[in-house]
Symmetry: C2
Subunit: 403 residues, 2 copies
């Protein structure tokens, strides 16, 4: 299989050093995918979500922000892969992907965006099992309309269609060194901005103004994008941390949290920091310190052989031991990588076994006061004998901005 011509400009090699994806990196992904295809009895997989197309092909474009034109990538178990692209995207494809074979359709063509061409290419794949995988399962999204997906299922007959989102999960859940380096770079960019956050919180500022200073610092620090910019703030604490910043003016006595997902080279960080404007009350300080200890417990449990559920229990047990109330959040951390959140989930019924190369968040939450919640989050990578922090760890005590 041909990989990456030497003279091709590699738009996707955003990093200068260990964050570079080599042709060997893509070759390795393809080989692992093919081994799983054999195991799962699939003649090919077809991916159509931004992140899976990027993962296998290297094709990187912001045009996914437009829903007009979908992109498809067919990776057969045997033979060369083929991209099925809207007309006009071929130059961009060849500038960022190692995969050279492609076919196009005249887009936009609203009633059938490439489905006919795609089905035809899939049917040309060498068949041994009569089965093809598409993204259908947990945490997947299709990058086409539901009508086109239904048309495709129909057009693929008599081939059997199976879910390949589990296959993608098994590949992507273990990160390569270059992938980890990109996530770590995203974490460092965010850590640097968090270090400067106190000086961004000036009297008279609104939540939105502080958020924009914080985002600008991350962009200036090299982030490609900031897709997740959540803020919670209020007198003595916040009630939720999944909302965008508001136009409310911050006040002395507020406790404020920013949770952010900055992207670098197609990889996310995802962590938050809480701080107080003026000396916080005793309860809030106790809650913050209990979160720090719960994070300690999560970090201690983060090692190969333990399960995602163990990370949950370690954190919850530490919170209960501190005499405070675990917040009901569904999970206490999760995987991350090409998306803000990936598999697994740190929750009681997720028995995913931790392995070296998994990148995850440790994210305890405590409910207190009258409907308030406080959270703390770190990003880690599982190593051979434990874990390593990718985020610069939160302060032991809640940082305070004095006005």
């Amino acid at each position: 299989m041909p990989f990456l011509k030497d003279d091709r400009r590699i738009i996707y090699e955003v990093g200068m050093d260990r964050t570079i994806f080599t042709r060997q990196e893509f070759q390795h992904r393809v080989e692992r995918a093919r081994a799983l295809m054999t195991e799962l009895r699939l003649d090919a997989i077809m991916v159509n979500s931004e992140k899976n197309v990027e993962y296998f092909s290297g094709y990187a474009s912001d045009l996914w922000a437009s829903p007009t034109r979908p992109f498809y990538f067919v990776l057969p178990r045997v033979g060369e892969p083929i991209a099925v692209l809207p007309q006009g995207a071929d130059v961009a494809w060849l500038n960022s992907s190692w995969a050279e074979r492609m076919t196009t359709w005249p887009a936009p063509r609203p009633e059938n965006e490439g489905v006919t061409e795609l089905a035809s290419e899939i049917k040309k794949v060498k068949q041994q099992f009569g089965r093809v995988g598409i993204e259908m399962g947990p945490e997947s999204r299709i990058g086409m309309t539901l009508n086109d997906a239904l048309q495709l299922l129909d057009a693929l007959r008599p081939l059997e269609v199976a879910d390949c989102s589990g296959l993608c999960r098994r590949l992507r859940i273990i990160k390569s060194d270059a992938e980890i380096a990109r996530i770590e770079k995203a974490c460092t960019i965010a850590s640097d901005a968090f270090d400067k956050l106190p000086e961004m919180i000036t009297p008279g500022s609104t939540e939105k103004q502080v958020a924009n200073r914080f985002m600008a610092a991350m962009i200036a620090g090299g982030a490609d994008k900031v897709l997740f910019m959540a803020m919670g703030a209020g007198p003595g604490g916040y009630e939720t941390i999944i909302l965008r910043p508001s136009q409310r003016t911050l006040e002395r006595g507020d406790i404020l949290a920013i949770d952010t997902g900055a992207e670098y080279g197609g990889y996310f960080c995802d962590f938050d920091r809480t701080l107080a404007i003026g000396t916080p009350g005793d309860e809030a300080r106790r809650v913050y310190e209990a979160l720090y200890r719960a994070t300690d417990a999560g970090l201690a449990a983060a090692r190969p052989g333990n399960k995602a559920a163990d990370l949950y229990h370690a954190q919850v047990n530490a919170i209960e031991a501190a005499g405070v109330t675990p917040a009901t959040m569904g999970r206490y951390g999760h995987g991350l990588g090409k998306m803000l959140t990936e598999w697994p989930s740190n929750k009681p019924d997720d028995h995913t076994i931790l392995q070296p190369g998994m990148v995850m968040t440790i994210e305890p939450g405590i409910a207190y006061g009258n409907g308030k919640v406080m959270v703390q989050e770190e990003n880690i990578v599982i190593t051979d004998d434990g874990c390593r922090l990718l985020s610069r760890r939160a302060h032991v005590e809640m940082p305070v901005v004095y006005w």
Copy 2:
């Protein structure tokens, strides 16, 4: 129907003035939707994509960046709407939506993320036609897994399921004054950054460094996000304008274009600017000026009663009259608003009639040299008797950065 309690913090009112969405704005959207439901014989619509949930409910969160938990909003033709939410999202919902009724499921629940609860709520809607609309058609995306969508189609039987993406299109294609004000604000933020672009292009800079300075300027200027940041650059011109910036160092003799989609309050701008590093060649200058004249022609054709196809022909005719070659791009502009690209498409077979309140791009492209392309884009709103520019218009002559 209850709308927006007075004492509720309206996270979504990001604007200070005419960009504010009042409760009347949402009421108007709901009333228009219901009139169309009657026309289309639908008892309810269920939306599940970020932008349609936001459009109808006001719910605004960056958590759409995570694929773990979907959100659903059911708007019946008669009776109160209901949000079907992952557990824990209720506080955030109530802080940003006018719609108070909700039900939740214990999320994450990977094999069935709220489908059972959603189907049950849809079936409780007062039935007159036995038909419910979901997003299936052109330029729509579902915000759930394909497996969950197929489960939902099954669970809704014996109700008939129809496509409601056309209904959403008919509502959203005409923007309210507050929506136009948000798009204009996004355009102004980008225009201000483009004005400063020449001074950001310093000797020794890479594409990526320039892009990050440009993005930081937009964020500092108030943008919420920059989802689309494309750059094309090369000696004498660029070959494509849909790629992300590379690590290539810019050089004297390069012609560079940035195409950007910045978001403000949930609304996009989408336009580009081209400039030269050092005096450009005659051919590039001629191409640039022909693009400017083609834009003139597009603007002149942009008035109520004309069709999207007329905008295409006006631009292409002007390019041909200038003796240069129209680029093959599928369309010469499109609608925009809550997404980077929306309906209609300025192409020969799009007969959408222009109406006041439509926000669009005029986007001619010219092919020249050896595989080069040059583009120019403006954002406009159709008015009662023509159109009004929302972007600050490109210079008549190609701007030059002298090193």
